[in-house]
Symmetry: C2
Subunit: 200 residues, 2 copies
DNA sequence: AGAAAAATTAACCAAATGGTTAAACCAGAT
DNA sequence: ATCTGGTTTAACCATTTGGTTAATTTTTCT
């Protein structure tokens, strides 16, 4: 197996699959994009499903690794919020189509897709940070699940809804969507930290 | 044109399109689900694209109308938050696949899909509520765009990510995902209102 | 009742698509 | 040089799929 060819295929497959999804993707288009014959595609990855699985699991890792990495860093809850949001919005900005790709494929085939990847979120650490904060009355009571869904949702949703946000908020002005997203690197942590802070 | 047949078709088409997306949907399956012949399907809606457009625009409306309705209600910003979140999570729980369907199709074809529907969000009203709150120093400064993306994202994202949330948070326990979502009817408003409240 | 119009179906078609096959090409080993 | 193994290709195949056609059934109108 020629490594160069395999890489060309994986790059092409990633682009086509992420753009058009499993159903919309065409093996011919992947072959074209990779600059090879369609038969060669099947020579390297026997079936469309096999090639897709490879792309999907890599995609899953590249979207979940940043979460895990941030969870492994030391520091208190508030620095976690800061670094995670900044880091994650950067990652998402670089791969803006990944979230939609992953969520869509997972929703279309939950059991299979979830089983395909074995990722273990370092949840315990986060839970500890949160519970400590609650005990010391530094933050309002909140479950780890709600906290994580909130912070990820606030980062990911605007990426998923880019066409709508652009169309309804930034009709005329052109690249304002991008600055909107980048500014959220500051806005989201501020929002969350304020939400968690105990009032008096 | 037999109205009964048209309704049967639209119901079947909605189910199949929303479940499998434009690319994954099959005209034959829609015909089967509607209990009719495939030719009859084309007799009522000439092409797959035409049928899809109908389904999509109805879907868009049913997902955006609740937003607009909440925006038109009277009351201050905090009651808006309460009623909107409660109302919207109810709507989403009843149509859990709609958000993924809409976002996916829009991302796959932004210009066309956005142009397909003409919905005018009653943004001015919300902007006024927010700006008033800021002026009276009842809430922290926040742009209408960030506020709306936050509140919608907090409601919609957990619906989009159901398979992941179920798999990683509620592995063994069965229907806990649903209670998690329903509890967010209280958690989200609390979170947002706290986030907006001025500290002293 | 019977003609005209509308609704519905079975059979069919062309294009697209995932996948296969057999031959050609090309490197390194002998 | 040529044999051998892996690599690449052109041509091909079976199936699926959106869509059409012509005939049949059902309804409507007179």
């Amino acid at each position: 197996m020629e490594k160069v060819t395999e890489i060309k295929i994986l790059e092409a497959a990633k682009k086509v699959f992420v753009d058009k999804g499993m159903d919309g993707a065409r093996m011919q288009e992947i072959a074209d994009q990779a600059g090879i014959n369609k038969a060669l595609l099947h020579y390297y990855f026997r079936t469309k499903a096999q090639l897709f699985d490879k792309i999907f699991s890599v995609a899953m890792e590249s979207i979940f690794n940043p979460i895990n990495e941030s969870l492994e860093n030391d520091g208190n809850l508030f620095t976690f919020i800061d670094t995670f949001v900044d880091n994650y919005i950067t990652v998402l900005s670089e791969n803006p189509h990944l979230p939609n790709f992953i969520l869509n494929e997972i929703n279309k085939n939950p059991e299979r897709m979830v089983k395909l990847v074995s990722l273990n979120l370092n949840i315990a650490k986060l839970k500890q940070l949160i519970d400590e904060g609650i005990e010391n009355q530094e933050i309002i009571p909140i479950s780890m699940e709600n906290f994580l869904v909130n912070i990820i949702g606030l980062c990911v949703f605007p990426i998923l809804a880019k066409p709508l946000i652009s169309a309804y908020f930034f009709v005329s002005e052109n690249n304002n969507y991008n600055t909107f997203i980048q500014e959220r690197k500051k806005n989201i942590p501020e929002f969350i930290k304020n939400a968690l802070t105990v009032k008096n």
